[in-house]
Structure formats: structure tokens, C-alpha cells
């Protein structure tokens, strides 16, 4: 089908993450029009009710806005988009730290590891 969804999270949540990721990476820019509900439904293989929910939630998160009769757009409020980027960073760090702690690593070992990782990256 359109997208392979992970089993452990609601589909609408995965679509919000996907669109938010595209906005953060700059694939969708401030003020860009999002696909119509029907278009995005067909593209992702998901029902239109779910896409409507995705757009409504994104409006509530202030990262999208709907304009009467025109559709839904990425917000032009770059402050909000910056907030989104920071929030995403926190989410990923949180889950990284969680996984590492479960394996028995201390925060110190993690930051040492990250510094070491960064050196390795620069050598390449």
C-alpha cells in the first residue's frame, strides 16, 4: 500500500510525524499548501476521515492553518516551526536516552559516546 505503518501507534499520529518531519527538513516550506484531503488520502492509502483528523490536529498544534475554500497550509509563523523542531529533538533524545538507560548506560557514557561518534563522523 501507500505507506508501511508501524503497528504500535495510531495511523493519524504517524502521518502527523511524517508531515512534521517533512516540514522540519524543509521539504515543505512555511506557507506551502498541503495536498487536499482526498489527494493525501489516495497518496497514503488512508481514509479521508483520518486525513481530516491529521490536518485538524496540525492546526491545533499551530503548525498548519486552514484557509476557507483554499485548503490547508504550512504555517508562516517560523517561531512555531522552530518550536516544532525543538520538540522533535527532545522527543528523539528522550527515546534514545530511554533505550540506552534500559541497556544500563549512564548519561555520562552516552555523551562520551556521542562526542566519540562525532569525531568518527568528522574523520570520514
Amino acid at each position: 500500500m501507500g505507506i508501511d505503518f508501524q503497528p504500535d501507534k495510531p495511523i493519524y499520529q504517524q502521518l502527523i510525524d511524517r508531515l512534521a518531519g517533512e516540514i522540519i527538513r524543509g521539504l515543505r516550506k512555511p506557507g506551502d499548501k498541503l495536498p487536499s484531503v482526498r489527494e493525501y488520502a489516495v497518496e497514503t492509502g488512508v481514509n479521508a476521515n483520518t486525513i481530516q483528523r491529521v490536518y485538524r490536529k496540525m492546526e491545533q498544534m499551530n503548525i498548519a492553518e486552514s484557509r476557507r475554500g483554499q485548503g490547508t497550509f504550512v504555517t508562516e509563523d517560523t517561531g512555531k516551526l522552530h518550536e516544532l523542531r525543538e520538540k522533535m529533538k527532545e522527543t528523539y533524545i528522550h527515546s534514545f536516552v530511554q533505550d540506552m538507560s534500559d541497556l544500563g548506560f549512564t548519561l555520562e557514557e552516552m555523551s562520551e559516546g556521542l562526542a566519540h561518534y562525532q569525531e568518527g563522523e568528522q574523520d570520514d
Binding site: 501507500g2 505503518f5 501507534k9 489516495v42 492509502g45 476521515n49
Partner: protein
């Protein structure tokens, strides 16, 4: 709204459907999930008014469902014997003559979307193309309720994908409710709002897909496996 109370259908002594309560709201997409022989198809035929319940009742917007309810319910059979003597364009003409809510233009749009041409004879179609043709004429009806019986059964993955996309593209979810039976949940899960699980003629559960994923962190198929054992 379609409402069934204690719906029961007996064939001889065997209960194919056994005391099912259903409450189907407008604008939602329901999947009736169950193994072969669980009673799914019988439920669909009862809801479409094609079979008469042995016990219990079904109503459509408060009126009892009868064969005349066909004007508000578009039913797609899972039978592979489907007007074999017609060409696709004759099938379109026939549906147009039978159903007031049939939208010819939409039928041709769907047929084009699914890459079917009107001069092909139904008896000469592959299983996949016959499935597409049945879907096209059913979804071209602007009926408030669409009932699709096993639209994906026995079809290869590409055909299944094109059928799911055809449904998303052409069903008017603001004005139509959709009911799909299937035993292949994985393909239709992203399409569904709710699943109704049927097991040996009884309703085992009815849940929204989002709730299953939020509360159990599982997709519907894994959730079912965990619960049915």
C-alpha cells in the same frame, strides 16, 4: 443509520448469524473481519435486504430493511459469476437503467482510473479485472450506504492496492458510509475507522482502529491474534 438487533439467520438447523447487534453510523468506514465461514457474507446479505432474518430486526433510518432498501444500499457481491454475458459498457447501461442514484460519468471515471475498457466482456476478464469492474459500478452509485463483500479476496497485491485506492478516490466519505468484509485485515486497516470482529456467527468485538493502536500498541491483526487464542 443502520441498526440491527439480535440479528439471527438459520440455514436449516445451523445458525450462520447468531444474535448480532450492530449500530452503523453515517460517514464511517467499517470493516467486518472474520474467517471464511464466520458469517460475514450472510450479515452483508441481511443488511442489504437480500436475505430475511430468522430472528431479530434490521432498520435503516428507522424503517425496516426489505428488498426495497436497495435504493439506499449499494451492495457488491463476492460472487465471481457476475453478468458474464455483458460487456463492461453494457453493465454500465444496465446499472444506469436499474438505479436512480447511478452516476454514469462517475462510473466511466472509475473504470478509467482502474484501466478498464468498455468493450471487454465480463466473462473474459481476469479475476482482478472482474473485481475492478464490480467495484466501479457499485461505487458509481450515490447511495448513502455501500456494502462491499470481500472486495480483495483472492486478488494479487497490485490489484488489491488499486482497489483500495479506487475506494479512497471515489467514495464520497461526507455522504456515504462504507462497510467492507474481509479476512485480509492488513490491506484495509488504514482504510477503516472501525472493525467489527465476527467469530462463529457472533459479534466478538467492535472497536475503533485508533483505539486499538492507542490502547494496546498493536495493529488490528496482532491484537486479534493476541485475543482470539
Amino acid at each position: 443509520m443502520i441498526e440491527a438487533r439480535q440479528l439471527t439467520k438459520r440455514f436449516w438447523k445451523k445458525k450462520a448469524v447468531d444474535g448480532i447487534d450492530l449500530h452503523l453510523e453515517p460517514g464511517r468506514i467499517y470493516g467486518i473481519i472474520g474467517e471464511n465461514g464466520s458469517g460475514k457474507s450472510t450479515i452483508m446479505k441481511l443488511l442489504a435486504g437480500l436475505l430475511h432474518p430468522s430472528n431479530g430486526s434490521i432498520s435503516l433510518n428507522g424503517e425496516p430493511v426489505t428488498r426495497k432498501s436497495a435504493s439506499q444500499i449499494a451492495f457488491m457481491t463476492d460472487s465471481t459469476r457476475f453478468f458474464p454475458y455483458f460487456k463492461i459498457k453494457e453493465l454500465v447501461d444496465f446499472y444506469d437503467s436499474q438505479f436512480e442514484d447511478f452516476n454514469r460519468e462517475k462510473a466511466w471515471d472509475i473504470l478509467a482510473f482502474l484501466s478498464l475498457d468498455g468493450d471487454q466482456k465480463l466473462s473474459h476478464l481476469s479475476k482482478g479485472n472482474l473485481g475492478r469492474a464490480k467495484l466501479a459500478v457499485t461505487v458509481a452509485r450515490e447511495a448513502p450506504y455501500l456494502l462491499l463483500d470481500e472486495p480483495l479476496s483472492g486478488l494479487d497485491p497490485m490489484v488489491r492496492e488499486s482497489i483500495v485506492k479506487g475506494i479512497i478516490q471515489f467514495v464520497d466519505f461526507e455522504h456515504q458510509s462504507l462497510l467492507i468484509t474481509t479476512h485480509e485485515i492488513r490491506d484495509v486497516e488504514p482504510l477503516l475507522d472501525e472493525v467489527i470482529i465476527i467469530h462463529q456467527g457472533k459479534k466478538y468485538a467492535q472497536q475503533s482502529v485508533d483505539n486499538i493502536r492507542t490502547n494496546h500498541h498493536l495493529d488490528v491483526e496482532s491484537w486479534l491474534k493476541q485475543n482470539m487464542q
